[in-house]
């Protein structure tokens, strides 16, 4: 039976990871994810989890050790944020190329510089094209649920890819709130023991991490791309099973009050929850506005995005990262590109908000929705906007 417990979400993430019985955890402290490995080391020290906690000397080594452990056939977990993710960056695309189902929780934080420890999505957006499955949680319950799901998806024989689960630093990691925890029996029933496709052991000799020459590299990349795209089938299956067992629904793109909506906001991460409050207010005022919440970032849910915008006149895509000198926020450019070939498509605007921990209160979502309603009639006013920036 699930138990309702109040807890800091970072600790809840650690507790849930422990329910998934990882064999090896390797992590390095960095704000705001630190409480996750800290608490996992507590759980191991208390004897509640039979795992090796490798207290590595860098994030590069954290992900490297996870590669080694996963390559040896162990279930491996790590967590990081921001600069830590960048320090891992060399190893990140290798993990997916080697088809090692490592699970990583990222407590999203702005990239330096200037140094800033607070939330935005510039860290994960910098690691977009690396072949990992990438998902966002919007509240503590989703962190708990998606942590368990992540292991199952990653380790599925048709997937065998690493998963990063993103939760907003501080806005989620440091918040105490109630969550329903599945029992150990429920997790064990949902998540089978990890059976590696291959492992480095003399009983079954394999070479992992080989060299690929130009004669084969296109095919290798195509194979990597196809398996990531195909993983959506498994992701949907796992979410369906989760819904059947636990009654909570997960979709690649979720909608909130979109019936009859002419204006949409599209948000990612925890701000999608705050945006709901704004939608309620605007609906009360009679504005036909709804909200899309993007949960699955990679593989990108093209079909779901196309279906979700039918009949919509204008949509504001909210990004928590800047693509400097680029086409607008990274989520925006993906969404716009998904809709380019549609005969009828909404006007889309890019609103970049909440950088480096800048608070995004309900009123900001209302103003953005109002702007979207305006451009539905007049057309876009600029390529993209850093919303609410002083001096403009």
């Amino acid at each position: 039976m699930s138990e309702r417990v109040g807890m800091e979400i970072a600790l809840a993430a650690a507790e849930t990871v422990a329910l998934c019985r990882p064999d090896v955890i390797a992590a390095y402290p960095i704000t705001p994810n630190t409480h996750i490995p800290e608490h996992l080391s507590d759980i191991v020290a208390e004897g509640r989890l039979d795992a090796d906690f490798i207290c590595v000397e860098s994030e590069h080594s954290a992900l490297s050790a996870c590669c080694g452990a996963s390559g040896a056939g162990a279930r491996a977990f790590t967590a990081t944020s921001s600069q830590g993710l960048l320090y891992m960056a060399e190893v990140v695309p290798i993990v997916s190329a080697m088809r090692l189902p490592v699970v990583m929780i990222i407590g999203n934080r702005a990239l330096s510089g200037p140094i800033n420890i607070w939330n935005d999505h510039s860290d994960i957006m910098s690691q977009r094209d690396v072949g990992w499955i990438s998902m966002f949680a919007a509240n503590g319950q989703e962190v708990v649920d998606m942590t368990v799901q992540s292991f199952k998806i990653a380790e599925h024989r048709d997937v065998m890819l690493p998963v990063n689960l993103n939760l907003d630093g501080f806005q989620l990691t440091h918040v105490v709130e109630p969550m329903l925890f599945p029992s150990q029996e429920e997790v064990d029933a949902f998540l089978p023991e990890y059976e590696p496709y291959a492992a480095v052991h003399p009983d079954n000799i394999v070479s992992m991490g080989t060299l690929a020459l130009p004669e084969i590299f296109n095919e290798v990349m195509k194979a990597k791309d196809e398996v990531l795209k195909d993983s959506k089938k498994v992701i949907l299956e796992v979410w369906k099973e989760w819904e059947e067992k636990f009654g909570r629904t997960y979709k690649p793109v979720e909608s909130y009050r979109t019936e009859g909506a002419e204006i949409l906001l599209l948000a990612i991460g925890s701000m999608a929850e705050t945006a709901e409050v704004a939608i309620d207010e605007l609906r009360d005022r009679g504005m036909p506005v709804g909200l899309l919440k993007l949960r699955l970032w990679r593989p990108f849910p093209f079909e779901e995005i196309r279906n979700a915008v039918k009949g919509v006149k204008a949509m504001a895509v909210l990004d928590r990262a800047v693509s400097f000198g680029g086409p607008g926020g990274p989520v925006f450019s993906e969404v716009r590109s998904a809709l380019y070939d549609e005969k009828v498509r909404p006007t889309i605007i890019s609103e970049i908000i909440g950088l480096g921990g800048r608070d995004v209160p309900v009123g900001d979502f209302i103003k953005i929705a109002e702007k979207a309603a305006r451009v539905a009639k007049t057309g876009p006013e600029e390529e993209y906007e850093i919303f609410g920036v002083r001096g403009s």
């Binding site: 064999d23 090896v24 390797a26 039979d50 795992a51 090796d52 490798i54 207290c55 590595v56 000397e57 860098s58 590069h60 080594s61 954290a62 490297s64 050790a65 996870c66 590669c67 080694g68 452990a69 996963s70 390559g71 040896a72 056939g73 162990a74 491996a76 060399e90 190893v91 290798i94 080697m98 023991e193 492992a199 480095v200 052991h201 003399p202 009983d203 079954n204 000799i205 394999v206 070479s207 992992m208 991490g209 080989t210 060299l211 690929a212 020459l213 084969i216 290798v220």
Partner: protein, 318 residues
């Protein structure tokens, strides 16, 4: 004629006949590193997992869809064979504890070149040694970044001309001395640290066997002659390694629990000129340059002898 140390007739009887590192690898003609790896694998035997840093040996041995390895082998990147090794070791340990794999001792051995060990991988190596993983790390030192075309590393000796520390009108090649890596690792209180060279195959293999038995971290620094990078004749690979030892520029010694032992102690050191003159990378050196090198080699050798004579095992100190 003293061809090899402790010369044993019928050498093949003394070693594992299995070729765990198979022919067909694409190392250069006369590659000392390929030889050293072949010998290391014979000493390790089959219950071994090899964790390879990016470098010549990884590139020449595992061109997909083939592999030269008859041992389980994993490569991830350049700077992290020690941390990948740490993960492999931890993974195998936990899986064995949980009864998910066979209950027998499988040694994790991380390997890297001098670039991957002295320079870019030093942090990961230091971390792995400090954390006391049951891990043997073997550095195959050919004294430059050979895989990328002979660039200077922290292991490149003073005076060597490399493609990033070239000799020229205003330069005598590398202007800094080689980093003393064995001492750095020994300072981590690693119970077994040794230097070795493929030119002394039985000494090297014995050291590998000794290190393999250590429950905890161990480290071997294996000088590996690179005919391409050193600009020596391919048939001289063994001779060059022997000269490195006989001149004292690369003495073979062990540090066991803090106690130093000199394994090969020539009666008289040969002059450095004998070693330097055979190598294209040192061709530009003047007699004065060689004198500077000779002085330094003498000093370092004497420092080592001093340790050999005076330092005791920790066990005798406690």
């Amino acid at each position: 004629m003293n061809i090899v140390e402790n010369f044993d007739l019928y050498a093949p009887r003394l070693v594992d006949k299995e070729e765990h590192f198979s022919a067909g690898h694409r190392a250069c003609q006369g590659c000392g590193e390929a030889l050293a790896i072949r010998l290391m694998c014979k000493a390790l035997g089959k219950d071994t997992v090899i964790v390879n840093a990016t470098g010549c040996m990884e590139v020449v041995s595992t061109m997909y869809p083939t592999t030269a390895w008859n041992l389980p082998w994993i490569h991830v990147a350049f700077p992290n064979s020690a941390s990948v090794g740490a993960g492999v070791e931890a993974g195998l340990k936990v899986l064995r504890r949980k009864g998910k794999i066979a209950d027998r001792d499988v040694k994790t051995v991380a390997i890297g070149g001098d670039g991957g060990t002295f320079d870019i991988g030093l942090q990961a190596l230091s971390g792995a040694m400090e954390r006391r993983h049951d891990l043997l790390y073997v550095c195959f030192d050919n004294e430059a970044y050979m895989n990328t075309g002979i660039q200077r590393s922290g292991a490149t000796p003073f005076g060597a001309s490399t493609t990033t520390a070239p000799a020229g009108a205003d330069s005598t090649g590398k202007s800094e001395w080689k980093k003393n890596l064995a001492e750095i690792i020994a300072a981590h209180n690693v119970p077994y640290v040794a230097t070795a060279c493929h030119s002394y195959p039985f000494d090297f293999m014995n050291k590998v066997k000794k290190a393999r038995k250590i429950k905890g971290p161990s480290f071997i620094h294996c000088m590996s002659v690179c005919p391409t990078g050193w600009r020596t004749a391919s048939e001289d690979t063994i001779k060059m390694g022997r000269l490195a030892v006989e001149t004292g520029v690369f003495p073979l010694y062990e540090i066991e629990n803090g106690k130093y032992t000199m394994n090969i102690k020539p009666d008289r050191l040969r002059p450095m000129e004998d070693y330097l003159k055979l190598q294209g990378r040192f061709r530009h050196l003047t007699p004065a340059d060689i004198e500077v090198i000779q002085t330094r080699v003498n000093l370092e050798y004497n420092k080592l002898l001093n340790k050999v004579e005076n330092l005791q095992s920790w066990e005798d100190l406690s």
